[in-house]
Every structure is written in C-alpha cells, then in structure tokens.
C-alpha cells in the first residue's frame, strides 16, 4: 500500500473524490418529479372544475350573467363595448333567456378550464 499519510498526498486524494455510481437513482428521482408535476396539474384542474361546479350550483346562470354584465359595464370600454352589451342583452331577453345565458356560462366555463389546463 502506498503511504498516504503525507499531507500533499492527502490533498491529492481529496481532490479526486470517489463518486457514487447512478444505478437507477436518476430514474427514481425523475419518476418522483414527474409524479409531483402530475399531482400539481391535477390539483390545479380539480380546483378549476370545482370552482365552475360551485359557481353553477351556488348561482343561477341569470345571476352569473347579471354579475358579469355589471362587471363589463363598470369597465367602461366605450361605445363599441356598450353596443356589444346591448346586443347580448337584447338576445337574452325572454322567452329565450335561459338557453342563451346557459350557453354563455358554458362558453365562459370552457374558456376557464382551457386557460387552467394551459397554465398547468
């Protein structure tokens, strides 16, 4: 055996550390990070879907539409926007009120889910 008690020899040995071989370690970590990513994405999607379900259960489509209308009007985007709002309001007047509002809510919900899926 070589004499490794010499200080310089110890420095040389320390400078060449024995590295642990992989033996599937990286794959195990990758598997866990993928699981973590999937769990995050699923959680995000579930939150989005729960929010939509809650909105649909807790509020009627008409109320939801009225809230969105108030929000849109408060934004004051000018006459073009008012024209659009008036057109929608006109289209949603009885007797076809329920199908149109339901359709609008469905479109908004779909847009919310798609945006959440993209973000996730």
């Amino acid at each position: 055996m070589n004499d490794i008690s010499d200080s310089k020899q110890i420095d040389k040995l320390l400078a060449k550390p024995a590295l642990i071989s992989d033996r599937g370690f990286s794959e195990r970590v990758s598997l866990r990070t993928r699981r973590l990513s999937n769990a995050r994405r699923n959680l995000f999607l579930m939150t989005g879907l729960s929010w939509i379900a809650l909105m649909l259960v807790a509020t009627s489509p008409q109320t939801l539409y009225a809230d969105l209308l108030i929000l849109a009007q408060s934004m004051e985007l000018g006459s073009f926007y008012s024209y659009i709002v008036n057109q929608i309001e006109h289209a949603l007047t009885p007797p076809e009120q329920l199908p149109y509002t339901a359709f609008a809510v469905a479109i908004l919900s779909l847009a919310a889910v798609v945006s959440m899926a993209i973000r996730a």
Partner: protein, 183 residues
C-alpha cells in the same frame, strides 16, 4: 451557453422534467458522495439525496442564476441533512452507529482505489462540520467563501474546521499506515 446552463434555463423557466432529469444525472454522483460522507450510510444518503433533488425541483423558481447551480444543490443537500438530524434528534448516536456499523462498499462507487477507500474510512472519524468543509473545499473545489455561503457558517469557522479536520486525517492515516507497516 453551456449545455448545463441550457438545461438549467429549461428546467427553471419551463419546469421541464427532462432537463431536470439530465441535471440530476449530472450532479447525483457528487451529491450522494457528499451525503455519504456526512451520513456514513449509503441508504440514508440516498434517501436524503432524493429529498434534496425533489426540494430543488420544487424550489427551482427560487434559483435566480446567481452563483453556481452545484453550490445551490449542495446547500439544499446540507439543509436536508440537518433537517434529518433535527428530526431524529440523535446526531451523535447516528454518527457513532454508522461509523461502527458501515463498511466502505467499493461496488457503490464508479471507481475507487485502495487509498481512496482508506481516506473514506478515515473521513468517518471526523465530525459533520469538518467533513462538510473539507469535502466541499478540497474535493469539490469550492472556495472558503463559497463553503461559508453553502453551509451558512462563518468564514473563520470554515477555515478552522478544515484545518482541524486535515490534522485529524493526517494523524489517522499515519497511525493506520504505522500499524500496517508494523504488522
């Protein structure tokens, strides 16, 4: 831009799993060797190394690209090790238990010669701070200041731990050689 920088960029900005896996492959050998020296157990070192990489993955957004990625990983690894110690609350027990129980297994390493095995064995007699500072500074090439930042340890303590650790190492290896020569 180097290959590593590109992988870091992809992993940080896009949370890219493949890029992160490549980074794990690049750094696992060093991180596990470092943790092995601290824990004195291959299984425990592997568990803490896995926790290290998962923590790094979760905290990728906090890596701002300042300093090197390797140093950032060592810092997380050391914190994971300390957390484990705090959790078990048996720091000295663990050290003594593993230093007496575990042998160096050559098959666990990519490549290890007899002298390196003797050195690894001698390193088991040092305390965690001495082992950490010597390993980071002499084995993985970090400066004293970088080691101080990684371990959150005052610069003076880093220097004194290295000095004390190296004296211990020299004495241990001298004694071991003396015994072998006598026999």
């Amino acid at each position: 831009m180097t290959n590593e920088s590109l992988l870091i960029f992809k992993a940080v900005t896009r949370q890219d799993n493949d890029a992160f896996s490549s980074l794990v492959r690049m750094h696992q050998g060093k991180i596990r060797a470092y943790l092995m020296r601290l824990c004195k157990s291959y299984d425990l070192a592997d568990d803490i190394a896995q926790e290290t990489f998962l923590t790094a993955f979760r905290k990728l957004h906090s890596f701002k690209g300042e300093g090197n990625f390797s140093g950032w990983l060592f810092s997380i690894a050391h914190n994971c090790f300390l957390q484990h110690i705090r959790k078990t609350k048996r720091r000295s027990d663990i050290t003594q238990q593993f230093s007496s129980e575990q042998e160096i297994h050559a098959e666990k390493y990519d490549e290890i010669c007899t002298e390196q095995m003797d050195l690894e064995q001698a390193l088991r007699n040092l305390n965690a701070d001495e082992t950490a500072t010597i390993t980071l500074c002499h084995s993985f090439g970090f400066s004293h200041q970088e080691v101080s930042d990684i371990l959150s340890m005052p610069l003076g303590s880093v220097k004194s731990n290295i000095s004390r650790g190296k004296t211990k190492l020299t004495n241990l290896l001298t004694a071991e050689n003396g015994l072998e020569k006598a026999s």
